[in-house]
Homo-oligomer: 449 residues x 2
Amino acid sequence: MDMARFIALAMASLTLGLSGQASDIDRIRMEGLRQPHAQSLLRELTKGVGPRLSGSPGAAKAVDWGVARMKALGFVNVHLVPCKVPHWVRGKAESVSMSIGDRKVPLSACALGGSVATPRRGITSEVVEVQSLEEAAALGSRAKGKIIFYNRPFDPTLVNTFSAYGGAVDQRSQGAVAAAKVGAVAVLVRSMTLSQDDAPHTGAMNYQDGVKKIPAAALSAKAANMLSASLKSRPVVVQMKLNCQTLPDADSASVAGEIRGTTFPDEIIVMGGHLDSWDLGEGAHDDGAGIVQSMEALSILKRLNMAPKRTIRVVLFMNEENGLRGGRSYADLKKAEKHIAAIESDAGGFAPRSFGVTGSESQLAKVQSWLPDLKTVGIERVDKGGGGADIGPLGARGTVLIGLVPEGQRYFDVHHSRNDVFEAVHPRELQLGAIAMAMLAWRLSEEGI
Amino acid sequence: MDMARFIALAMASLTLGLSGQASDIDRIRMEGLRQPHAQSLLRELTKGVGPRLSGSPGAAKAVDWGVARMKALGFVNVHLVPCKVPHWVRGKAESVSMSIGDRKVPLSACALGGSVATPRRGITSEVVEVQSLEEAAALGSRAKGKIIFYNRPFDPTLVNTFSAYGGAVDQRSQGAVAAAKVGAVAVLVRSMTLSQDDAPHTGAMNYQDGVKKIPAAALSAKAANMLSASLKSRPVVVQMKLNCQTLPDADSASVAGEIRGTTFPDEIIVMGGHLDSWDLGEGAHDDGAGIVQSMEALSILKRLNMAPKRTIRVVLFMNEENGLRGGRSYADLKKAEKHIAAIESDAGGFAPRSFGVTGSESQLAKVQSWLPDLKTVGIERVDKGGGGADIGPLGARGTVLIGLVPEGQRYFDVHHSRNDVFEAVHPRELQLGAIAMAMLAWRLSEEGI
């Protein structure tokens, strides 16, 4: 597409709503677009701090960064909200390979978060491929001593990638338990992605009391395809060695900072994401994006010297990925405070498309009444239902929960993998989400909910 | 974001509309999602054919590819629609550098499409920076013998990137004429992008009868920033050498193929994009995406053995970028045929967000009534106004014009530059656009407009 032919078209779809004096909402948008800082914050968090799995030195560094950065941005009441977190470490890089005749073919793999290690010499066993937990259970004694390979891919007919994820992730989260129950010695799980590259995607897995803990690793989509193709013609033996372990719970914390409300300081609006990330990649989309959008949203108001009626607080939650301890401890330790609403961004730093609201019908309607503001930065809808994992525990006490929903087609290409790096985040898409959050927080602070 | 916590959220925002027997629209979506072919078509066009500027061997190869591919897909009445096209060639790579004292600093640059060459020895002259055509005109005699450097960036406060483009592109299209009128010897133009990398973006520029033709090149955003910073402290001399030339108009053609209508075969619905591209990059988003989406959309119907009531025709238009000769010749040579509607995709292969419709209010309302179908693949709105450059000439005869509008934040990062390659196109985002077009063409064929 070229030339001025499209000016008319473009202008027609532009809604500025400027008329004489700039409204508060216009000022927020203009500041956010003219002086975008979300990307530079993200660079600090991803390139400066790096990956930050709960309990790791990276996570501790991220906490320090959050405190220092919030103070530098001029937020007040910057403080830690302590929590104990699981402390799982990957150890020396894992190795997985398959033997085809005399040939040994390496398979791109990574231990799942929370997995036990293999014995030091590794596990070498025949592989059985299944498509579901039910199929694994049905193997019965045929699974004994084998490695079970869960290979059900994302359902490609689901346009919503989170639905596709939701429809496949039981293999990762519960596959080891189902396999151990029928006597398998380990599990391999196809990565939770629709993309076809060679990056394995990690993520949390669970054990169950009374069921043997067996090692669990994710295979890249490419490795899963290779293994599956090989299994079609003959039995395949896989060697796998995982060096991970779970250490005692570690001390950690979420980080909070705010602008104090002028009229109703005791009514709090939270904006947040999670500070921890998986150890592969840099946690850029998951959830560096949500962290820096929350900070940038509040910083926009601060830079404009806007004084909200209610307190707007940014919370960088610790340990969403493998425990949710930060979200739980926050709700618990802050239960004396009145949280009227909480906004979370934890679905990637892509172009914002909608907000989802969990609250009463009248609360939903109120947020929907602000849609004309939000449309100016690309929000198309305010839907019923939504929120975020970290703010979830606040919901039990009547806090309205709101989740930012960005364009989702690329999210699971990067999610929990080495692909989740700074460079995969588009600066304008990231910033538009921050501005939308600032607008929403401002409306909540001025009008209540 | 992690785990099954979000299944509920994801399911809530999913609209499948399945109930017993699959509707035509459901079958289109399911086929498109299960057997996506847009990406493999795009690979053929970008990696197999490559760049395809009008008049080039690449463009001729693209025409051959279009014919062969449409036949292989089972389309009928596959034929060429001839046109004469401008034939501009870049020649040996251009070089632009600035002298700061004794130091010569290379500036990443490319000739603008249609530019004349510099003299063989190049042009060496002092640079004057301006922000607009008006500022260039106001230079008067001070511009004599100088190189005028247009450096007005995209307006960052415009969320719609096409609006930002529309607000800056006069520098590229008309800058040389304005500069020549005040005696300048050449122009440099900041690339039409909001990104900050070192890739120069080409694009069409114009001359005017009676005004001297002076050479014109684009600087990358980085080079423009560097040059502008240098100019702040002292005069800067730039050397530039362009080796481009305009050859006599060449014979070329658009390519058409179709599924014939069963009930009203003489009523035609066109789907298309443009087959030509700029010579930098691979023309993947601009407009390989539109080409393969159109072909894939019709191919989905063909694979399902769906027999449309009206004829659905794919047209791969030649020469959108620097002449629009294909769009004009098509409208002219096909004027005896009744075109009831035309759909164009030429805004990048990103996730689809809306359709824009140019037609009567009742025609718009009819397309809007199909929104529930389109929503299932991510189309949020059907707006008034829109279309595409290539189908524009059909509009004069009452054809309803419809443009696919994808998410736009990344488009001008790649547009007309070496960044516009196959790898920058996301396979699912591309495919969703193709499915949306197939649904829309099907509704048009069954219900008319």
